[in-house]
Amino acid sequence: MDNKDNYNKNIDHENEESRLHNEQREERQIQGDPFEAHDKEAHEYEKGDMDMTVKADIPHGASGHGALDSKNLPKSPPGWKVIMKEVIADKLALFSLILFVIITAYVFGLTMFLNRQEIVTVDLFAINEPPNDMFRLGTDYGGRDIFGQLIIGTRNSLAIGMLVTLMSVGFGVVYGVVSGYFAGQIDNAMMRVVDFFMVLPFLMIIIVFVTISPSYDIFSFSFIMAAFLWTGTARLVRSLAMQEKELDYINASKTLGSSHMKVVFTQLIPNLVGIIIVNGTLSLAANIGIESGLSFIGFGFPEDYPSLGTLMAYATNSQTLQHRPWIWVPAAIMILVLMLCVRNIGEAMRRAGDARQRKA
């Protein structure tokens, strides 16, 4: 008990400290006339004849080689271009990308014409039928069309995977950048929180939340999942932000008087976008797996909102597993194909971030 109080006090103390720190900073900004003047000067310099100043500084003749001429400097291609080039150069990744786009377009397109209500309605005259003319992939124990469920299930799994990825990566990025950028005590406290989240038995806690959650829909399910899956991104982004903030352009921007908000959101995060996309892609694969796992053990989507995991769950019945493979094999293959595709794309993107490993 004593120790807990101490710990809380520590946290309070840290908050106090950061508050003081902020106050000092504000004070500086209020008195900051000299900064303002400096700011204006700098802007003028920026707008003004950059080329002339540069030229004036270098000895005659040197400019002839074009060595320091800002216009002749080779421009490094933007991050997403490098990534796309790498993905296209890697045949497997390109194939995966095309396949993934086709599957996504197909299921999202087709679900607009499928009637979910009709598909999930129990039809007692068509129980456990193997694939035939009427039901392309057969039916389950409730006489429901497997093909329709597979299409809707793929869409639901993809949609929830993307939603969870957006939420968890979004939060993780902001958390990680803030922690890495401010460093020191703030970083210390924020990372302890991450450490704690990482040792939680998150699967069990998600199951409990899903069970006791009063309003249960796609959004709250994704939110519960995302609440426990942001820590990996936060850790990665934090370590990158720590390296990035030491670079000159951040220091220059701070010297020019940019606010922390501006530095973090318009300068640090845009420069980490490549890594964030890679991380998001790889977590998308993991999230599709986790969602289907949760649905598989019965704590994800209910049967009338099928996901790939709910289709797999039919296989826990030993009769279905043994004698009715048409119910669960397509879903299993679909999960594998999706995860492999997304991983292949992610791995190619990751290589793009590391010049030594690039193939293109």
Binding site: M1, N3, K4, Y7, R192, D195, F196, M198, V199, L200, P201, L203, M204, I205, I207, V208, T211, I212, A285, G289, S292, G293, F296, I297, G298, F299, M312, A315, T316, S318, L321, Q322, W328, A332, I335, L336, M339, L340, R343
Partner: protein, 320 residues
């Protein structure tokens, strides 16, 4: 070393406290309390109220939390509403099964994973290495439950080599040779299903570690001194590449215990993961709650173990 360990232990303590508070609140969010499972609808409301006050169920949360913690230190983890037995007894029945399963899987992971990683790193970019790397690539993308189902379908049902569920055959005397053999027989499929997916990380770490180490100067020196090639790999390189794997040992165990939920469900193996799922679906939250606390403590201790091992094998960590 000692300083690092003590500092690391100091972090562990608040983690345990926060975990217990979290689990406590999770418990109070769950419907039902210690009394609701025992109630007869004919008991008058005043009597219920009196009993509630006697049990301290209307106290403010911090007093309830304190009582809860004290009770646990005295070995009282509450009563299971569904089983009508102390929670500890219910869990105790299942505990050893999960321990055996995790032990078997861990042994298999290192028994299969280390040689694969060694071979793959030693002969990198050969056909053998490409096969192993291809397998790890597939293994990373395969969710454990799908792999478990396929293994069960193939070896359990189609080939019929191993039993498809349970932890021991019926009608065997506990302690007899047949009983032990039957237990092992029941463990084969689930532990292989866990291990064959669980080992991909180990193989990849070891492979990249070996490829990195074998270019180092001390290996060239060892060769120049005339050390046998097998000994270069099995002693010099292997020992230096195994550090990260040794350091992740604690996390590995925790991941195994957590991941066994799926496998225990598929193989209807009576372990703690299955008990957790059962207790959630029967709304037996007192058991579920203790299990979460148990797994949480285990994870915290696993992380602690990993960090301490890491600080032993890699002195650079201690400076931080």
């Amino acid at each position: 070393m000692l300083k690092f360990t003590i500092r690391r232990l100091l972090i562990t303590f608040p983690q345990l406290v926060i975990l217990s508070i979290l689990v406590f609140f999770l418990g109070s969010l769950m419907p039902g309390d210690a009394l609701s499972g025992l109630l007869d609808p004919n008991i008058p409301a005043e009597a219920i109220q009196a009993k509630r006050e006697e049990l301290g169920l209307d106290n403010p949360w911090y007093i309830q939390y304190r009582d809860w913690i004290f009770a646990m230190f005295q070995g009282d983890f509450g009563t299971s509403i569904f089983h009508q037995r102390p929670v500890m007894d219910v869990i105790g029945d299942r505990l050893m099964n999960t321990v055996w399963l995790s032990l078997f899987s861990t042994i298999l992971i290192y028994l299969i994973g280390l040689p694969l990683g060694l071979v793959s790193g030693r002969y990198n970019d050969s056909l053998l290495d490409n096969t192993i790397t291809g397998y790890t690539y597939l293994g990373f993308a395969t969710p454990q439950f799908i792999f478990g189902l396929v293994i069960l379908w193939l070896f359990g049902y189609n080939l019929g080599w191993f039993p498809t569920g349970g932890s021991v055959g019926p009608g065997l005397e506990p302690g007899s040779i047949d009983y032990i053999l039957s237990k092992i027989n029941h463990l084969v499929l689930p532990s292989f299903a866990i291990a064959l997916i669980g080992l991909v990380g180990t193989v990849q770490y070891l492979r990249s570690g070996i490829i990195e180490t074998k270019q180092k100067d001390f290996i060239i020196l060892a060769r120049a001194k005339g050390v046998k090639e097998s000994s270069v790999y099995n002693r010099h390189i292997f020992r230096n590449s195994i550090l990260p794997i040794a350091a992740f040992f604690g996390y590995e165990i925790v991941a195994l215990l957590g991941g066994s939920i799926f496998i225990e469900m598929i193989y209807s193996y009576p372990g703690m993961g299955r008990l957790f799922l059962d207790s959630i679906s029967t709304r037996d939250f007192s058991v579920a709650n203790v299990l979460i606390l148990f797994y949480g403590i285990l994870a915290i201790l696993g992380a602690l173990l990993s960090d301490i091992i890491l600080s032993i094998v890699d002195p650079r960590i201690r400076i931080k």
